[in-house]
Amino acid sequence: MVTASPAIDPAAPVAADGVAPGRKRLGKALIAAATVGMLLVILIQALDAAGAVAIGFDSWRPSLYAYLIWSVVLGAGQVMIRGEAGQRALFLLPAALFTVAVVIFPTFFGLYIAFTDWNLSSSEGRHFNGVQNLIALFNDQYYWNALLNMVFYVAMVLVEYAIAFGLALLLNAEIRARKFFRVAFLTPFMLSPVAVSWMVGKSLMEYRYGPAATLARHLGWDSPAFFTSPWIARFSIEAMDAWVWIPFIMILLLAGLQALPKEVVEAARVDGATPWQSFWKITFPLMLPVSATAVVLRIIFKLKLADIIINVTSGGPGGATDSVSSFIYREYRDRSDVGYGTMLAMFYLVLIIIFVTLLLKFVSSRMQKMT
């Protein structure tokens, strides 16, 4: 019924919609007027900013309002021009216009900044400096170190996955008080990483009085310093991040387990398979698609890891715990080195786009091979 109704595309044939030609013309005129109006506002503002006319706008807000009005008129115009197809387009338009407005501009502007020597603390303003930032990036040991740390953090997702799978199996077993355990296991996911930084990183794991340190002493570790040697610090940070995010993977896997066909598992049991065998031969393979979704999503979130590191170690000791995000954060905050920091961020974005694309390709090809 509603298939193949071209929306948004203004060039598409619109004859059979049953919209009166007058309405259609009015709609087109409205959109044209709004477009001209918006461009005019932006032009005047640009001239004002360049000093060509002296109106003295406080900010670019008028352009923002012009865009908002244009968006509303565009939506109304769609309905007037294309009738029902326009009404359908109206579902998608708000989200699309919003995303385009807030993503396109920052991305292009970010690309521009990335090739400048802009430093907020210098009085000079920004100059285009070509690929110098890129060269500096390739020579920046700390950046590559942060990227290597990201490899470690991302690899640890597999450990988180294993633990989460275990927990999901536990919750899926025939147990009492299942709801209590589920809520309890889920709670860490609700906590803000900043609060966790203090609750766990700065007090539980505190060297002198923290219960975790006390426990470690009882277990025979004489100087339980969680954040002084590089590897222990890295694992401590990872442990905190895992603590927050394991529930997320666990819930996804639990849903997968509950959706498994019960007959298959039951049949294996009847055939005399041990639980161990039936897990590896049946449950685990059946769970692979869900697992892939969970792991990919978790990796995407892991690539944004920053809050805990910023607040607990600030990347220390000696950059051992730095993630790319926390490193760039300090580049902005402490050195105000905006141009260079943005280049680092853009380069990271390119890397993760490549990485995630390859990951998705790999996952989907494996899935096809299986089925």
Binding site: I113, S192, M199, S203
Partner: protein
């Protein structure tokens, strides 16, 4: 199953099986209790520490009334203990203003994201769009791909953009940015929701003379409401806890709770009980929401997981 082919006496096998089963059960419960402890202890620790004084912290006391007498010290420093609640307190005023900012920013962003996201998700689930070369699949991918944008990439351009738009350090600026970050998740969850509602329902309503929007608002929306709640809660959690953007884009007016907590952690002189009280008050609202609406969070998280 019903035929015993084993040569061993049945009773012995039963006993063996039973001890094995009992052992298995014990192990399962031990593991469950262990992880529940791991999950809940830091929260308990924070709550209990907020009622301690210096001596209790140093001696590592854990159990209130048994180990140490609870003291309002931590909450007093926030101006939230029973004896200071009626007095004026600058710390409490600051805390309340941060708290309000957090509430407005996260509820506003979650609401806006659910509004925009549900509409888009419904459209993508029901109609065939074509924009330039992009079909439905590409448009969906465009929205979902925003999810991999790391905050660092957006942070600086937004700083400059907001400065030009006079949106820096405003709640509305935070709302717009947070909406952008959670919109992909909302679209994901809601598309899954709408896909499970049979399209025949829409068709029947259309035949009855409802318009496209009438079908959506009067027929589909009420059915999809639980899914919307789930998407809302999920967005709320992510926005409430967001730190990175808030730290860079807000300074005095629109600072949110995580930024306040973080700025306190940084200073060395701050006492544990005060920090514990502050952290506790930052997490309690969400823990309460989480416990009450756990069902919806799970529903939101598991949308699309079965595919």
């Amino acid at each position: 199953m019903s035929v015993a082919t084993d040569t061993r006496p049945l009773a012995a096998e039963d006993a063996g099986q039973r001890t094995k089963r009992r052992l298995g059960r014990t192990l399962i419960y031990a593991a469950l209790i262990f992880w529940a402890f791991v999950s809940l202890f830091p929260i308990y620790w924070t709550l209990s520490t907020s009622f301690k004084v210096a001596r209790d912290v140093m001696q590592g006391h854990l159990l209130p009334w048994i180990d140490f007498p609870p003291n309002w010290l931590g909450w007093r420093s926030l101006g939230l203990s029973p004896d200071t609640i009626s007095n004026t307190s600058t710390v409490r005023d600051e805390f309340l203003s941060r708290f309000t900012n957090s509430v407005i920013a996260s509820f506003g962003a979650a609401g806006l994201a659910v509004l925009l996201g549900s509409l888009a998700a419904y459209g993508l689930s029901r109609f065939q769009y074509k924009f330039l070369w992009m079909k439905n699949k590409d448009i969906s991918f465009f929205f979902l791909s925003q999810l991999i944008l790391p905050p660092v990439v957006l942070a600086l351009p937004f700083l400059v953009l907001y400065k030009e738009l006079a949106l820096l350090d405003t709640r509305i600026g935070l709302i717009l940015l947070y909406t952008l970050t959670v919109l992909p998740i909302v679209i994901w969850v809601m598309r899954d929701q709408f896909d499970t509602i049979p399209i025949e329902l829409d068709e029947a309503a259309l035949v009855d003379g409802l318009s496209v929007w009438g079908v959506f608002l009067r027929i589909v929306l009420p059915i999809a409401l639980p899914g919307m709640v789930a998407a809302f809660i999920l967005s709320l959690i992510l926005c409430w806890n967001e730190y990175f953007f808030a730290a860079l884009l807000t300074s005095t007016n629109a600072k949110t709770l995580p930024v306040m907590v973080a700025s306190q952690t940084g200073s060395q002189g701050i006492s544990w009980w005060a920090m514990a009280a502050l952290s506790a008050s930052a997490i309690i609202p969400l823990v309460v929401i989480g416990v009450l609406l756990e069902r919806y969070i799970i529903k939101g998280l598991t949308a699309g997981a079965g595919k």
